[in-house]
């Protein structure tokens, strides 16, 4: 059954390969550590009097910011993401920020001139649209089509935080004494830009797309930028910011995170389209939405208690918007519940149908095979008896020999039926052995080369073994029926408390969107896909199909290892010796 593995059909595997190949150097980690050292040096060197603070600012601080731009460009060249525009936009945004910083600190620390607004503000504010455009590009690629749920969630958070920003930053800047109109407008523009950037970042955070390490590091960077910007605005309202302030570490965190994200091998997968799946209302998400929804009335209460000026019209308007958004979300949930009920009904119907089809198939198999053959055997036995009675021992011996062959053949046929119903290898030797057996049978039956690679040092609980076996069976059935593939590859790996089953082929493939959500799969009669997914999700795991036209299909099922169920028991009969080592 040895064969060449199929051509890599999906980005995941390429990214994993890249991670294996390049991850050894841990460029991203080295970059993060180096950035941390630069940040420490930024505070220690001027404190020790070795260089003036402005020199540290320009040399170390801006050097770090510039290094993030370079890291992004290196990341794009090294990992060649399919959609690099987002990263270029990030680089331009960061560069704009660096230029603004250099102008600002040149005015403040070298020329000792307090110019506001200045050319620095033009570059600072110009950075935001590039950063937002980059994030929006990622969102667009990761969540193709409408993702109304994530959009509503992002809007709820944005409106809630927007009210806070309005009351505590935007209005105070608008009413700050001694400012010209231009100074007011520019001062207000910063928190407004931060709210817009937050909206984009939250939309990215709550989407359905993949969340590899590069994604997380990138979002930590955005978080650091937003928090630091907010602190800066508060400091500015209170009295003034000075070079070397502790909050500088926030911006340095942003630079370091974005540079590290670009240097992480998984940066390639950031813009990959998300597989269609329902957005789940997790506790974390619910808490986030509840907190954001309550921000407006809480602020009203705080203002009332502290006797501060009320921002009633804005808070009332924001509360109304939040109310409408929450209602829209509720409506979406109600629709989702109705859809799930429909899916459940169709799956139950399908389960009954499949069971009956299976019984019909089994009955037909028994009719055409064992019953027919054993009836024939009975007639041959009758004939043998008559020959013996006549003294025709030679004729009888011939018939008995053919009877022996017939009976052996029927025992083998009945064993095949039994194996199809419940493979003994699954109970006796476990999932790895059962998959190896099935792969060999599949190759023999279909002519499609099938490789089975397993690395599973422990036995799984019976339910998990059964579910994964049936999913592999269903996936290979799909390969035989639809893929027009030459090779199929089944892999079973255990890692970090999870077991991953992957079935890949090098066949015709399809557009992943045509697979659709669970409901869409059922609607399009993709019962095989729906059934696999349902089984895995009911067992507490995740299921994913990735496919592209002419680039094959990969089905991945992941289950957490373990459970309360005892390990599989051996069948109550002695199994034949199979000579398997290690099972």
């Amino acid at each position: 059954m040895a064969s060449a593995p199929p051509a890599s059909p999906d980005t995941d595997s390429e990214v994993q390969e890249a991670a294996r190949r390049i991850g050894r150097s841990r460029a991203w980690w080295t970059y993060l550590v180096a950035s941390g050292l630069v940040a420490v040096a930024y505070y220690l060197i001027p404190a020790a009097g070795l260089v003036p603070r402005w020199a540290a600012k320009i040399g170390l601080y801006n050097g770090l910011a510039l290094s993030a731009v370079v890291a992004i460009l290196i990341g794009v060249i090294r990992y060649r993401p399919e959609r690099p525009l987002a990263w270029y936009l990030f680089a331009v945004g960061l560069l704009s920020y660096v230029i603004a910083d250099i102008i600002f600190y040149t005015y403040q620390d070298i020329l000792h001139r307090d110019v506001f607004p200045s050319l620095a503000d033009v570059f600072y504010l110009a950075a935001y649209p590039f950063l937002m455009a980059g994030l929006l590009r990622l969102i667009r690629h990761r969540s193709p089509g409408a993702d109304q749920t994530s959009l509503l969630d992002a809007l709820v958070v944005t409106v809630g935080v927007g009210v806070v920003s309005w009351v505590y930053l935007i209005v105070p800047f608008a009413r700050a004494p001694g400012l010209t109109l231009l100074e007011r407008l520019v001062s207000m523009a910063y928190p407004i830009m931060d709210v817009l950037l937050l909206a984009t970042a939250v939309r990215l955070l709550v989407d359905r797309g993949p969340r590899p390490p590069a994604f997380r590091v990138l979002l930590i960077g955005v978080g650091a930028l937003l928090v630091t910007d907010t602190l800066y605005s508060i400091i500015q309202l209170g009295g003034g910011y000075h070079t070397g302030s502790p909050i500088d570490v926030g911006w340095m965190t942003w630079y370091a995170c974005w540079g590290a994200a670009a240097l992480h091998p998984t940066m390639r997968a950031l813009a990959d389209p998300a597989p269609p799946r329902e957005v789940r209302l997790t506790r974390l998400r619910l808490g986030l939405l509840a907190g954001a929804s309550l921000l407006a009335p809480v602020i009203q209460g705080v203002q009332l208690v502290r006797g501060h000026e009320q921002q009633a019209p804005v808070i009332v308007a924001a509360s109304m918007v939040l109310f409408v958004l929450v209602l829209a979300r509720l409506h979406g949930l109600a629709e989702e519940v109705a859809t799930l009920a429909g899916i459940r009904k169709r799956l139950l119907e399908r389960a009954v149908q499949v069971r009956e089809e299976e019984r019909i198939r089994l009955a037909a198999e028994l009719h055409d095979g064992p019953i027919q053959q054993l009836a024939g055997v009975a007639y041959t036995a009758d004939l043998s008896r008559r020959r013996v009675a006549r003294g025709d021992l030679t004729g009888a011996r011939e018939l008995l020999a053919s009877l022996e062959d017939d009976i052996r053949g029927e025992v083998a046929a009945l064993r095949r039926v039994m194996t199809e119903l419940r493979p003994p290898a699954l109970d006796e030797w476990g999932l790895a052995a059962a998959l190896a057996d099935y792969g060999a049978q599949f190759q023999q039956r279909t002519g499609i080369t099938c490789t089975v690679e397993t690395s599973l040092p422990v036995r799984l609980i019976r339910t998990q073994e059964t579910v994964l076996y049936r999913v592999a069976q269903e996936a290979l059935t799909n390969v035989a029926k639809h893929a027009r593939a030459r090779h199929a590859q089944v892999s079973l790996q255990a890692d970090q408390g999870r077991v991953t089953l992957q079935v890949r082929d090098d066949g015709a493939g399809f557009t992943t969107r045509s697979a659709g959500s669970l409901g869409e799969q059922l609607g399009r009669d993709h019962f095989g896909l729906a059934s696999m997914r349902q089984q895995i999700e009911m067992a507490g795991g995740t299921w994913q199909v990735r496919s592209r036209p002419r680039r094959g299909t990969t089905i991945t099922a992941i289950l957490p290892i373990g459970g309360d169920e005892p390990l599989p028991q051996r069948l109550p009969f002695a199994a034949p010796w199979r000579g398997r080592a290690g099972h």
Binding site: H367, D368, I371, Q372, Q373, L374, A375, G376, V377, A378, Y379, T380, D382, L383, R386, A389, R390, G391
Partner: protein
Amino acid sequence: MRSPEPVAQPSGPRVLLVDDEPRFRAQLREVLTDYGIVVVAEAGTGHQAVELAGRLRPDVVLMDLRMPEMDGITATRLLAEALPSCPVIIISAYDDPALTEEARRAGAYSYLVKGCPARLIADVIEKAAAEEGWHG
């Protein structure tokens, strides 16, 4: 000690054997021949059965139920209309009263279950060749 069973000369009723399983047909033909039944032809589908029966005019047709192209019930119905004097004996793996009734309504002479003694099959064939009507 049992008395030796005589070799019956194949001079009994002429039978058309219809079953889609060649191996089963061969086994049944051999044993029936030993009981003195003459198997004049074999067919693998209902279509072939109707065509051969019209041409060879056997005394009895021994018919399976589940076959490709045309099932045994349909073929029996056609034969009952076209050759009412040729009794059809159903021999099936199914032991089901509903199927037995359906076979009777289609005009079959009798319904036997595969695996029943060869002697019984031979007796029913001889009886069918000698008379007409349902013998369930």
